[in-house]
Amino acid sequence: MSLWSKWRKRAPWILHYNAGSCNGCDIEILAALSPRYDLERFGVLNSGNPKQSDIFLVTGPVTYRSRERLIELYMQIPEPKVVVAVGACTATGGVFRGMYNVEDGIDRYIPVDVYVPGCAAGPQLIIDGVMEAVAIWEQKTQALEEPFRLFGGMGTIGEALSRRNTLEVKDEQNHREP
């Protein structure tokens, strides 16, 4: 926790990558950034540079050609980062499922935090997905900041960083609220 932790999650910068999508979802992402839906009112910038991004918006089933680049881009985003899979293809392969040159979904290669359904996913849904990603982003940061014992303890680095923990924290919060 630091002085500015209250405001630190109001500037999610987006990296958008097309992993062999049909461009439908890409157009919808650009629509979400455009004046009508105005994602920028939440502080979102489409930075296009992995080193300066926080939220990784991926579209498309992963084609063989795009696998390495997908992983490389993911690795270049500094922690804490969140991955949003936009569209049906990224979740299951969508209409491309089972094709000879396609991996069915990006979660075979990188951990995904939010799945945005739809073919193509609408701008409203994408905005929803990004906002959900911002909530997960905050949880991930808190998980990173939580002290843990390196050796001999129950918590290992992997566990402290894992997605399962953040999910459990979230479930507890959801149960507590009502």
Binding site: S2, W4, S5, W7, R8, K9, R10, A11, P12, W13, P35, R36, D38, E40, R41, F42, G43, S47, G48, N49, K51, Q52, D54, P78, E79, P80, T141
Partner: protein, 272 residues
């Protein structure tokens, strides 16, 4: 008062930048981010894990920011105009060296373009400063600000400065040095986290530098200064929203011929 302004230059610049993002959004009929968005960006960037390419790259970025801050502070404290321009030039050279010090080709292209743009607009800025000397008899900002507005005799220099402003603020049509869709930010591509925040602040300080130069044309008239700065602010943003990017060689031609031509004609006219 001016010492306080000089010390708070990055904060002031951030407010200007936040306001500008709102204005640009309203021009496109959207809501836009909140006014304090640059500070939220800062909080976010300071929270990211630090990744650097090498120490020299980062320190040249810091040098760039500090020298720009010094230039703006000298402008606010009424320093020598030529000296201010040279400190500003030095700051940009630090950025260019930072661009060349990493292996990313985009960074190199960005640094090349930064140098080409320098070639185009630096003579214009120096001619504008000379214009102030010819009309007021002094290079000192302090002295210039005590005299009557020089917009009348220097109106062509003012137009030349208008050509330079979009380059300095990385605005369309002259944003080929940054070109986010094309070379992903140019020289700033390899900066991330807290180190990018330094460059981000440098960009905001640049706003104060440019609008400070605009303010000089108003001389001792505060009212004219405010009117000039807000008109230029609106004009630059309207043009940014309405135009596409020109290529770097076109930028060079337009600014070097147009800007230099206008400023030279003006100087000839003034000295006759």
């Amino acid at each position: 008062m001016s010492i306080l302004l000089a010390l708070l230059a990055p904060v002031l610049g951030a407010l200007v930048y936040g306001f500008e993002r709102i204005v640009r959004a309203r021009m496109q009929r959207r809501k836009g981010p909140p006014l304090l968005q640059p500070f939220y960006d800062m909080a976010k960037l300071l929270d990211k894990r630090l990744v650097m390419v090498h120490a020299l790259h980062v320190s040249l970025g810091v040098v760039h920011f500090i020298l720009l801050w010094v230039a703006v502070a000298m402008l606010f404290l009424g320093g020598h105009l030529l000296l201010i321009l040279f400190v500003h030039l030095f700051a940009l050279l630090a950025l260019v060296m930072a661009g060349y010090s990493v292996r990313s080709p985009y960074s190199h292209v960005g640094a090349n373009r930064e140098l080409l743009a320098l070639l185009a607009y630096e003579p214009v800025l120096i001619l504008v400063a000379t214009g102030f000397y010819l009309t007021t008899g002094s290079f000192y900002v302090e002295e210039i600000l005590t005299q009557s507005p020089k917009l009348g005799p220097l109106w062509m220099c003012f137009l030349a400065l208008l050509l330079v402003i979009p380059i300095k603020l990385k605005k369309s049509p002259f944003d080929a040095l940054e070109a986010h869709q094309e070379i992903v930010g140019g020289v700033e591509i390899e900066y991330s986290g807290a180190f990018y925040e330094v460059l981000y602040m440098a960009k905001m300080v640049e706003y104060l530098f440019v609008y400070g130069l605009v303010w000089l044309f108003a001389g001792d008239s505060w009212l004219l200064g405010l009117v000039l700065v807000s008109l230029v602010f609106l004009l630059v943003n309207a043009v940014d929203n309405a135009t596409a990017r020109v290529r770097i060689d076109h930028l060079l031609r337009i600014v070097a011929l147009g800007g230099l031509g206008l400023a030279t004609l003006n100087l000839i006219g003034v000295s006759l």
